[in-house]
């Protein structure tokens, strides 16, 4: 809205007689006249109400103000009449003496009028004098008292310290905003904005109905009834569409009914909530790259990338005699045979301790917070199992169906099925999850530990492994009734059929789960047996959320009811219940089916065996390829290396490319976003580790990754302990099972940004101009000094901001890559104050650290303690300011300038 227009437009709006409306109404059906009249009267009423309410509020405020000002006045009086004696106060004295100090025309005037002491006449005289034209105003000459000069500070903007880069938030954008800049020479204000951006798309905004509008709608429609002409008139009046108004009226009516009928029902129980909804905040707020909530760098609502390869369920050696509590299925199974053996051990702690690994905690932590169901979405929003695995398991189902072998596994003490131990369990579980959470800080993608929670029973389940038995989880399903639980509408037909065919009556279920992961080949087997008497009824009592949690549990722990009950369902279901549920065939089928079907969270619909078969095939192909890749793994001839090399060498011409993880499910092909974008796949990508486009890291040892010999270094990347073979940080004394100390000389020196191993930088007055950055301790050549942090802004945004910065001759912009520019103007660290020099002692380098580009400042030569830091801003030749221009300044990368403006902005005239 134009500034000039606002008063007038608001004036018309507040005008109670809306002539336009009425005149338009007259042209239409006679009814519309009536409508208009009604609306008009309502409008008047509203305006009057508003007027009254404003008056009331103003009056209230008036009283308020009176109180305030009186108290202020009081305090003023106190101050005046207080401890200070008039005589000692020079100002008072001066005030008294001042009449004599007046000079000029007015002085004589005033003196005269003092004698007269007639205000009117004085005023008269004075104004006459003025009017009659002392065009020379009174000059009061008083020798000014000098204020000693104080040196001004070099200009800066109060800035926010950042220890890592941040992506610009929407509200920080200057695009579309008006900006003002006081020109230093012209004394005028420049408005820096683009006219085409001035247009605000107000029309697009869907305006919420405000109360007065509701009032008018309700009253009008109540009075005149709901008809098209009335709606139209209303729409016209409120400048909305008539359908909108109709909808609103219905809403209003409903609200009225509700309010009349009394309280609306209480909130739905947390447990009935949708798992999808519950997980929503997690998916939106948790950054899977930085492992923090509300990540400032990658932002919220990132694309969810699920690794194609998932860590297998966790396997721990399980003591069969170990029960997880009073309701442990082992105990209860036993009790079916040997009744009333009431010893229940609480040894759960031990097994759970061993269990402490990454995925566990992550999932348990996450899931225990969420409450919901819906399988497709649920599996979409969490990490899936490797789909091929599960499909293997489907195969397995058909092959091994051996009920007998299972029963042997359960020789456990029995106990009454009471919840007596539950509390204990809960506590243990909590402790475990907390501990594990602490311990594990790695990303899921890199996590190849397989977690088998299952009590590995000694049963002799046979299973067929594919190829090298990498993976196959097998299920022996043998329960008859195939109740197709409707929420798990993803039963795998194959397995179901086979189950049916086998022995529909048998209540024994054997489960052998064979988890697998790429890195580790594992053969774990779990065979559980269950007498599942009330299977059906039990099933029904499971709430959707519990079911989803159970599924998650299976993903994490495998078929281990103890772990699932303890970590995910504590307080909800006992181990025994979990076990029963688990052993019901449908659940199992659907469980794995569900997993198989949603490999990436996008294809939620393929629901059956066909699909799984496909996946089996895919899997085998994949495995073959895997073998090849492994051979290639450390060869430098791999394509990925090549392209990176190239990039690093000619990056002078071409800025680095921003990395965004791809969501490929198989090894990346032509459609891979990373490939298209010209970046390598990183550990955050969905693609399997064997992906050819992945950066493989280095396997330097002696070189410490400090030269171009190291592929990481050569590619301007930092080493990544998750990727590189020999690069890690050794902490501790080796007691925790890490490899023994390698000695300092072998430690990777290419992880300084990651580890924040920076030098102390001091801020001070520069020897050159403005502020400067100084080094506290001496460093040797090529030492990493610190990171240049700032806001990540788009190039478009940077151009906009740059307009002002250039005028102020001070810019903190730094080209980062093809998508982003770092701006340290408002947020940054002390290195932003390092000045430019054509003969610098530092250099800046854009380095890829864990998928993000960051700017490191390095020593170009040996720098002594206390020296000021300089580096070459490397302005683009055509953009460099005069002082930074030099013949060889052809570098295209750096673009930063801290020269403070010396000019003095002026006020608008």
């Amino acid at each position: 809205m134009a500034s000039g227009a606002s008063p007038s437009s608001s004036a018309t709006r507040s005008d109670p007689h809306k002539h336009s409306t009425t005149s338009q109404a007259e042209k239409r059906a006679p009814a519309s006249k009536e409508v208009a009249a009604v609306i008009d009267s309502l409008k008047k009423k509203l305006a009057a109400d508003r007027c009254i309410s404003i008056k009331k509020r103003i009056d209230e405020n008036k009283k308020n103000v009176r109180g305030i000002t009186q108290s202020t006045m009081r305090s003023c009086m106190e101050r005046g009449g207080g401890s200070y004696k008039d005589g000692s106060d020079l100002l008072v004295k001066r005030q008294r003496d001042s009449p004599g100090m007046k000079s000029g025309l007015n002085a004589s005037d005033a003196d005269k009028s003092n004698n007269h002491s007639s205000f009117l006449e004085d005023g008269n005289a004075s104004s006459t004098t003025m009017v009659q034209g002392s065009s020379v105003p009174v000059k009061i000459s008083l020798r000014p008292i000098k204020m000693p000069d104080v040196k001004r500070l070099s200009p800066y903007t109060t800035w926010v310290f950042l220890d890592r880069n941040q992506r610009m938030t929407e509200d920080q954008s200057v695009v579309g905003r008006r900006r003002i800049y006081y020109d230093q020479t012209g004394g005028e204000a420049l408005i820096c904005s683009d006219s085409e951006e001035e247009a605000i798309d107000e029309e697009d905004e869907k305006r919420a109905f405000v109360e007065p509008e509701d009032f008018i709608i309700r009253m009008t429609l109540d009075q005149l009834g709901l008809s098209d002409s009335v709606l139209e008139e209303l729409a016209n009046f409120l400048s909305r569409s008539s359908s909108e108004i109709k909808a609103r009226y219905e809403v209003l009516m409903k609200e009225k009914e509700v309010s009349e009928s009394g309280d609306n029902q209480a909130e739905s129980s947390l447990l009935n909530k949708d798992m999808d909804g519950a997980l929503d905040s997690f998916d939106n707020l948790f950054c899977r790259r930085c492992l923090v909530f509300d990540c400032r760098l990658h932002g919220c609502s990132q694309d969810l990338i699920f690794p194609a390869e998932k860590p297998a369920p966790w396997t721990t050696p399980v003591d069969e005699n170990l029960t997880c509590g009073a309701n442990c299925y082992k105990t209860l199974l036993k009790s079916n045979r040997i009744p009333a053996n009431g010893t229940t051990e609480d040894k759960t702690g031990t097994s759970s301790d061993g269990a402490g690994t990454k995925t566990t905690s992550k999932f348990s932590g996450k899931l225990s917070r969420k409450k919901t169901k819906t399988f497709p979405s649920e599996s979409a929003s969490s990490n899936e199992k490797c789909t091929p695995e599960t499909s293997d398991s489907e195969n397995g189902v058909q092959q091994d169906t051996n009920p007998e072998k299972v029963s042997s596994s359960s020789k456990v003490k029995a106990s009454g099925r009471r919840g007596g131990r539950k509390r204990n369990n809960n506590r243990v579980a909590e402790r475990v999850s907390r501990r594990t959470q602490k311990r594990q800080k790695k990303s899921e993608a890199s996590d190849t530990d397989s977690i088998a929670t299952g009590s590995r029973s000694a049963s002799d389940a046979k299973h067929k492994d594919n190829e090298d038995a990498t993976s196959s989880s097998q299920k022996h399903v043998k329960s008859g009734s195939s109740k197709n639980s409707r929420k798990n509408d993803t039963p795998v037909e194959d397995s179901k059929n086979s189950v049916k065919g086998d022995d529909p009556v048998s209540q024994l279920n054997a489960v052998a789960s064979e988890p697998c992961s790429d890195g580790s080949l594992r053969k774990e087997e779990f065979v559980g047996e269950n007498v599942c008497p009330g299977g059906l009824s039990e099933d029904k009592s499971w709430r959707p959320l519990e079911k989803s949690l159970f599924q998650k549990g299976v993903e994490i722990f495998g078929m281990n009811s103890c772990m699932i009950a303890r970590n995910l369902l504590c307080g909800l279901k006992s181990c025994w219940e979990v076990f029963q549920y688990m052993t019901c065939s449908e659940n199992k089928a659907s469980l794995f089916g569900g997993d198989a079907l949603n490999p990436d969270g996008s294809s939620k619909f393929d629901i059956n065996g066909n699909m799984t078969n496909n996946q089996v095939r895919r899997r085998s192909r994949f495995l073959r390829r895997r073998g090849k890749v492994r051979r290639l793994k450390y060869t430098w001839k791999s394509a990925a290396y090549h392209s990176i090399r190239k990039k690093s060498t000619d990056k002078k011409d071409q800025p680095c490319r921003q990395f965004n993880p791809c969501n490929c499910k198989t090894a990346c092909g032509k459609e891979c976003t990373c490939l298209l974008n010209g970046t390598c796949c990183e550990k955050y990508c969905g693609c399997p580790k064997s992906c050819k486009n992945r950066f493989r890291g280095c396997h330097c040892a002696k070189s410490q990754c400090r030269s171009r010999q190291c592929p990481c270094f050569a590619a301007d990347r930092e080493c990544d302990p998750d990727v590189c073979r020999n690069c890690w940080v050794i902490g501790g004394d080796g007691t925790l099972g890490v490899p023994s100390q390698r000695g300092d000389n072998y430690e990777c020196r290419n992880m300084k940004l990651l580890l924040k191993q920076q030098q102390r930088v001091l801020l001070g007055i520069s020897d050159v101009s403005g502020w400067g950055a100084f080094l506290k301790n001496s460093v040797s050549k090529h030492e990493y000094l610190g990171e240049y942090t700032g806001e990540l802004i788009s190039h478009k945004e940077a151009d906009k901001r740059g307009k002002i910065y250039d005028r102020e001759n001070s810019s903190f912009l730094f080209n980062l890559n093809d998508q982003f520019v770092l701006d340290a103007y408002r947020k940054g660290d002390k290195l932003k104050f390092a000045n430019h020099s054509p003969e610098p002692n530092c250099y800046a380098k854009v380095i890829m650290v864990a998928g993000d580009h960051r700017v490191g400042i390095f020593a170009k030569e040996r720098i002594l303690a206390g020296e000021e830091l300089f580096y070459d801003y490397r302005y683009e030749p055509d953009r460099a300011p005069a002082w930074a221009r030099k013949p060889e300044a052809s570098g295209s990368k750096k673009d930063e300038n801290v020269t403070p403006s010396v000019g003095r902005p002026k006020k608008v005239a």
Binding site: K43, G81, Q95, K102, A110, L120, S126, V160, R904
Partner: protein
Amino acid sequence: MSKITLGNESLVGSLTPSNKKSYKLTNKTQEGKIPLYSVAFNFIDARFFTCFVSAGGNGINLYNCLEDGSISSLYAFADEDKEESFNTASWACGVEGNPFVVSGGEKGIIRVIDVNNQKIHKSLVGHGDLVNEIRTQPLKPQLVLSASKDESVRLWNVETGICILIFTGTAGQRYEVVSVDFHPLDEHRFINFGLDTTIKIWSMKEFWTYVEKSFTWKDDPSKFPTKFVELPVFTASVHTDFVDCNRWVGDFILSKSVENEILLWEPILKENFPEEGTSDVLLKYPIPNCNLCFIKFSCDLFLNYLSIGNQEGKIYVWDLKSCPPVLVTVLSHNESNSLIRQTAMSTDGNTILAASEDGTIWRWDAIDKEQAVTVEAKGRRKGKAQLK
């Protein structure tokens, strides 16, 4: 500006003067040709209600308004550095009641002048750019807020010279902060306005211990643990354009942007959601020809009247107590035709000073109704109407 929705219209004042109160020009004084940016009466100490300070260029001048309509000069201060150009001046006082004048300008250095001793009490260094406005907390006149181009607002204790708090950060003002004002009653609260068109209300409640500490601080002021306040309690865009002056009126806010009008509005704070606060614009005071930045209005101590100059050298006086707004009078003079940056009203509203771009200070005094008539008649006789 939040779009005016139905039923939330504000009452707009009419530009026809009611002439409830009349003023006559009684004096004018000129120090030089340097534009004056600021003029302010002392509202701190009843003894000095007639004293005012003007700032412009590198000079700060103290005057006394005599009852007879004349102006006497009390003190003049000048910065040794000719580069300095003061933008703002405010009265304050020390813990013992000794009057201070606090002023700041282009250099970003805030000068605290001990008037009785005729010397600099402190020079407050810290702002990274020019200072736009300084305001004194009326109940604790040792506390002073300064709004700066460096996007921050600082709270100072002028007695000890300590920078207590810095209000800035991600949620702070995005460009220059132009105006700032203490809440009259809630000493923890103040507002600021910036060139990014937003208005923010800040609270220093959580940091009040630091404020108290600043009074007893004996060590070097630079060692004081200055705190950063990053989150305002309220943020809103009431205007679409730059806002350059604001005042609390009770719990309402008067604010002026370069849109030729002053708004009186109520901030509706939402606990814990500073970004979601809304505003309800109640009254509008149109000011013709007043769309330049850095024209400031002023009110009397009792907030009965508001006066503001415009580009043509006219002064508009509005009645703040009436609703809908009533324009009291428009002051104009044929020689006063350059931009008036700031006006100052005396505590009782009977004297209005106007600091103009050409370095002149104009003094207008109120006259009683019947006297006004006479004056007007006389004026007309001479063919030079002073009152419009």
